[in-house]
Symmetry: C2
Subunit: 409 residues, 2 copies
């Protein structure tokens, strides 16, 4: 039985066509039955591509493939399957990536290295690559400019809702669009690209510029979230630019002409990253953690992540317990500079601990009400310096155990 | 309702008297009702003491007290309360440690700095120190050489069984005894002292030697276990030597005369550490992880701990799923040198993954049987060098959520 839809789910936005992108999905029968599990995306000739990937030392074969392909900077197609991660599948896994890229390249008349691959699902099972290749012509025939919702659905695994976002931005006088889809929803940890996320724009941006823009957008999105501290072997975030909309030429990520685009991209990435957290396995609450007063921004982020990854903090929030003592513990375990008598902790805007002790007679009623809500805000002030960071996570519930403790999920 | 007794519980061993130690417990009513929650231990005059403590940056007031007191190297009493951790209690917390140490010192006619303190329980609530002090005379009156079982019980919080161990060893021709009690059972993480653990011996060992012996014994015991990756603010491990048994004088930890003693102490510490893991909150399986072939021992330990702290590995084991793919993921996320094509993974002695892929046609029957047992053995060979490590943890079950997700546990 699939897990119930996350109580934190958000509706799928309408995604209008984006010049230079067509999407096709099919039920390839790789693992799931009765649903599409293969996505093929066509990108206009000349499209550029940027990407970031998991830092896991045992990455999947598709990650290895993409890293090499990225050096070319050009993309004609994206091929994604759900249900089998093609990870730790030995030489067969490497051969499967090559064979599927070659098959897709044949359909588009491009080089295999212009085909980008991603796989998500079980680790260590051989990818049924012939079945995948056999399904490609149908996916190709299904290519359509309005295939966005189907694409967001086809890449899901334990996700309980499809994830997408879209923005517009002007570059000079021209309006360009950015649209993306993503999937989660376990094995999500800091400083990784993400689970799978694919973002497309019709702007014309050369590969090195596109890469710089992508990396700028990570800090407050996919590198600021964690679900369970585990780091997938398949995390992949790709950004494609089809160049189909005419706008003034830009050559540097810092170009003032890109101000709106940078903001829109950062906003879209954060939107998608938070959708991934909202669908964290078993999540019932979205938790935002603001750390201020740390010695450095890096220290603040580490403290934020120590709180976000603490099972005791996460279970307390699941239990709607404003247990600030566990937050103090998590601050202390981060190993970063902290002093008891300067540390302050707030939940829902109410400062509960300050100057080394509980704030006597703080108003508990708004805290209790806040804990009952779907979004919980934690604030920590170290009182030491000017370093700050914001990170997001979800709570740890019985749902997580249900999803991950069943046989070969 | 208290959680049910851990299915991994072991019986409390009989602890004979140990020369120079008397133990008294009372129900001080600090938090619990109907049970002893205060332990007072008397140590013969001249007893030496060694200790290690949490590395959490927000330690409790008793930890701060003990660190200072340890400089004196001498102990006459140990005072432990359960139910209130006296952590993040500001200046009141510091005053409470001083007041209780002074009160106990009055009973024994010693200096306050010869009284060692430990508190465990809720963080951030003011310790009712007057109630504690009022209970001291009764605890003092209850002092007895056979108070070991009561002592092991009085320091419990969410523990579901009392933890103790005893060993004998010869130093020269003389037989000395080592006995210890411990309590867990959440907020247990690597490289920390422990939760609370108090070990006593009647050997005569000066403080610096005692400290060296204690630190030698940590690597394969309390620094090799983790329950939930969270690090308590109160972790305390104290080792007292009463010097009541005559034996040849020793002055160095490496002295050949101490060979048996070192081995017995290491064995006792490992026994107590594993009892803590066996009572990990919600634990249904004890997991042993052997890492070999890493570039260094330190790297091996980090990889072992990454596996031991992975929620996805721990939930899989709870579900009796031999999901070696998640073990590969955890190896990769450790950030230590690892190569897919050299990595091998075994569960229950059966190598399931090797040379970058699944071992075709491995015998699944013994693995399935092994997963159903109460103890699960994971082995990982990196194939890179000679670094090895062994660590222990428990699985992650609904029980953990039950215990920690309820209001102000």
């Amino acid at each position: 039985m699939p897990p119930p839809r996350s109580p934190l789910a958000v509706p799928l936005p309408a995604l209008p066509p984006l010049a230079g992108v067509r999407l096709g999905t099919v039920a390839a029968g790789l693992r799931y039955r009765g649903r599409d599990d293969l996505l093929l995306a066509e990108l206009a000739p000349g499209s550029s591509v940027a990407g970031v990937f998991t830092r896991n030392r045992c990455p999947g074969a598709p990650v290895v493939w993409c890293r090499t392909a990225l050096a070319g900077g050009r993309a004609r197609a994206l091929l994604v399957n759900a249900g089998n991660a093609n990870v730790f599948t030995g030489r067969a896994g490497d051969l499967a990536t090559r064979a599927s890229a070659e098959a897709a390249a044949g359909l588009f008349g491009c080089k295999p290295r212009q085909v980008f691959l991603a796989s998500t699902g079980v680790i260590g099972e051989t990818l049924p690559v012939q079945k995948l290749i056999a399904a490609l012509p149908a996916a190709h025939a299904a290519l359509a400019a309005d295939g966005w919702a189907a694409a967001a659905g086809a890449i899901m695994t334990t996700d309980t809702f499809p994830k997408a976002a879209t923005r517009v931005a002007r570059i000079g006088g021209a309006e360009v669009r950015i649209s993306g889809i993503a999937k989660g929803s376990g094995m999500i940890a800091p400083d990784m690209a993400t689970m799978l996320c694919f973002v497309f724009t019709d702007a014309k941006l050369p590969p090195p510029l596109l890469q710089a823009l992508l990396e700028r957008g990570l800090g407050n999105s996919f590198n600021a979230i964690t679900v369970d501290s585990d780091t997938s072997t398949s995390d992949t975030l790709l950004l494609f630019a089809t160049g189909q909309t005419r706008h003034p030429r830009v050559s540097e990520a810092g170009d003032p002409l890109l101000r709106e685009f940078r903001a829109a991209l950062a906003d879209l990435l954060q939107d998608l990253a938070l959708q991934v957290v909202r669908d964290g396995e078993g999540a019932s609450k979205l938790i935002r953690i603001d750390v201020a007063g740390a010695t450095t921004a890096r220290s603040a982020r580490r403290i934020g992540m120590a709180i976000a990854n603490s099972p005791l903090v996460k279970t307390a929030i699941a239990g709607e317990d404003a247990n600030w003592g566990r937050i103090v513990m998590a601050v202390g375990k981060a190993g970063e500079p902290a002093e008891r008598d300067r540390l302050a902790v707030a939940i829902g805007g109410v400062w509960m601990a300050r100057e080394g002790g509980v704030v006597e007679a703080y108003d508990e009623a708004p805290v209790v009400a806040h804990m009952r809500g779907a979004e919980v805000h934690i604030a920590v002030d170290l009182g030491l310096g000017r370093g700050s960071a914001r990170v997001w996570t979800c709570d740890l519930t019985h749902g997580y155990i249900d999803i991950n403790g069943s046989y070969r999920s």
